[in-house]
């Protein structure tokens, strides 16, 4: 008898599930969806590469690029916590399904400060 009440209630109420994909999924602001890099503030310091537990992030200082293997990333957010310039963040949107393992490569326009040339000491 108890179940009849629950079943009838379900029968006459609106569906508990969302009408996806006609209605897009809404995410909470704090959801760990995927990692986003703000390239303008990145200094290619490599701390995210060292901290990443799965080795998904690669930083190429010579080629001036930051790359991430999306399928290796576990969205733990350890890189976001450890970034000294706060240029990494979690975007709430999940990455879309894919049939190939693609690496996202971003060019970073960072110029390291030029070292002052050492004053030449006259030979004694």
């Amino acid at each position: 008898m108890k179940m009849t009440y629950v079943a009838l209630k379900s029968l006459f109420s609106s569906p508990a599930t969302a009408n996806y994909p006609a209605e897009p999924k809404t995410y909470y602001p704090g959801t760990r969806g995927h990692i986003v890099l703000e390239v303008s503030t990145c200094t290619l310091c490599k701390i995210c590469e060292i901290r990443c537990p799965t080795g998904a992030i690669q930083v190429d200082r010579e080629g001036k690029a930051w790359s991430i293997e999306r399928m290796k990333c576990i969205q733990c957010g350890f890189c976001v916590d450890s970034c000294p310039r706060k240029c990494l963040s979690n975007d709430p949107q999940y990455t879309s399904p894919a049939s190939e393992k693609i690496t996202d490569r971003l060019d970073v326009p960072y110029e390291p400060p030029k070292r002052k040339p050492k004053p030449e000491t006259p030979p004694a």
């Binding site: 179940m3 909470y28 576990i74 957010g77």
Partner: protein, 359 residues
């Protein structure tokens, strides 16, 4: 001369979300003995501790299990913190307790759905999981993940929840609890549920204790033992009365879990009322040197974490004794003498989590 046959059960079976293999020795329709075999999903997570540094390893510890994930991460952090002599800020302890109880509620609701599915009650299964979804929404909103919370770290928690948000969550939980009564009443009173659970899978109190059962399996046999009474995290301020049923059958274990859900709602209410203000993490300096055993209560029972550090960033040894591992010998005892159609339900009443047990 009786006619004995061996029927393989698993590793692929409709009631088993994870692989375990049981060889059931049957005489007609009656099970005489069950012989288990393991190792289908061994991942070697304990060995990984030699490659990952001790802070990174929190993420690995959390991935030991998908359902009791938060308490795994919390247990590892608790053991390392004890080795390093770190005292957490009170707010971190309370937040951890809050998330641990939410994970207990969602794990028990998941189990209720699975057991309803095992005895063919699809509507009850769907409704249990519908309510579980509301709990997962709260988890996602506060931690950022649905099942892998990722909120525990050595030295505190990685996220804070504002007091306004906590008040709002308190109100939401009240409506969820009211909605839940309609479902749990079915488990308590429905004729068909009782027919499938009452008197099935008897485990006497002595057997449960001697074979080392833990969690609801042990408490369903009348033994009041709950690791939360040890007083870790915020449980030192909140009194937890172990929930005990004395019928020793599948129905008793089901009732223990249902009553534990309401107990968890009560604990969360107390946590929200007493939530202290202040920091949620402290800075960790140095490396762990020493060893410690931590005991925590997971939804499935008591879990043990052993951590041994050597003063470097890599730990020497990490060991987990998960509740499912301890509950396998009592399960084999329960299966002796049961009818063959009852085997799936009995296997589910220990709430098996095989990936936990094999790590």
């Amino acid at each position: 001369m009786s006619n004995r046959t061996i029927i393989p059960f698993g590793p692929q079976h409709p009631v088993l979300p994870e692989p375990i293999h049981l060889d059931l020795v049957v005489e007609d329709e009656r099970v005489i003995e069950a012989i288990p075999s393991f190792g289908f999903i061994h991942r070697g997570l304990e060995r990984l501790v030699e490659k990952k540094d001790f802070q990174e390893f929190t993420f690995v510890a959390e991935r030991v299990c998908g359902i009791c994930s938060f308490i795994h991460g919390m247990g590892y952090c608790q053991a390392v913190e004890r080795v390093m002599g770190i005292t957490l800020p009170p707010r971190a302890d309370y937040l951890r307790t809050f998330w641990a109880e939410l994970s207990r509620i969602h794990s028990h609701l998941l189990w209720m759905g699975l057991v309803a599915d095992a005895f063919g009650f699809e509507n009850l299964f769907m409704n249990s999981w519908r309510i579980r979804e509301n709990i997962l929404d709260i988890v996602e909103e506060t931690t950022g993940g649905r099942v892998i919370f990722g909120a525990a770290k050595i030295g505190g928690t990685r996220r804070d929840v504002t007091n306004d948000k906590l008040k709002e969550i308190g109100r939401t939980l009240k409506t969820i609890e009211a909605e839940l009564h309609a479902i749990t009443d079915v488990f308590e009173q429905d004729y068909s549920v009782q027919q499938r659970l009452r008197g099935i899978g008897i485990l006497s109190r002595e057997d449960a204790f001697d074979l080392g059962a833990v969690g609801p399996t042990l408490r369903g046999s009348g033994e009041p033992m709950d690791a939360r009474c040890e007083g870790y995290a915020a449980y030192r301020d909140i009194e937890v009365e172990p929930i005990v049923e004395s019928d020793c059958d599948s129905y008793a274990r089901c009732m223990v879990r249902i009553r534990e859900i309401y107990q968890s709602f009560d604990i969360i209410r107390q946590v929200l009322c007493r939530m202290p203000d202040g920091e949620t993490e402290i800075k960790v300096k140095g490396y762990p040197n020493g060893e410690h055993f931590a005991r925590l209560e997971q939804p499935r029972g008591e879990v043990l974490y052993y951590v041994k550090g050597n003063g470097t960033k890599h730990l020497d040894r990490f060991r987990v004794r998960t509740p499912t591992f301890a509950n396998i010998p009592p399960l084999l005892k329960m299966l002796q003498g049961c009818d063959l159609p009852d085997v799936p339900v009995i296997v589910l009443t220990i709430d098996p989590c095989i990936s936990c047990a094999e790590r």
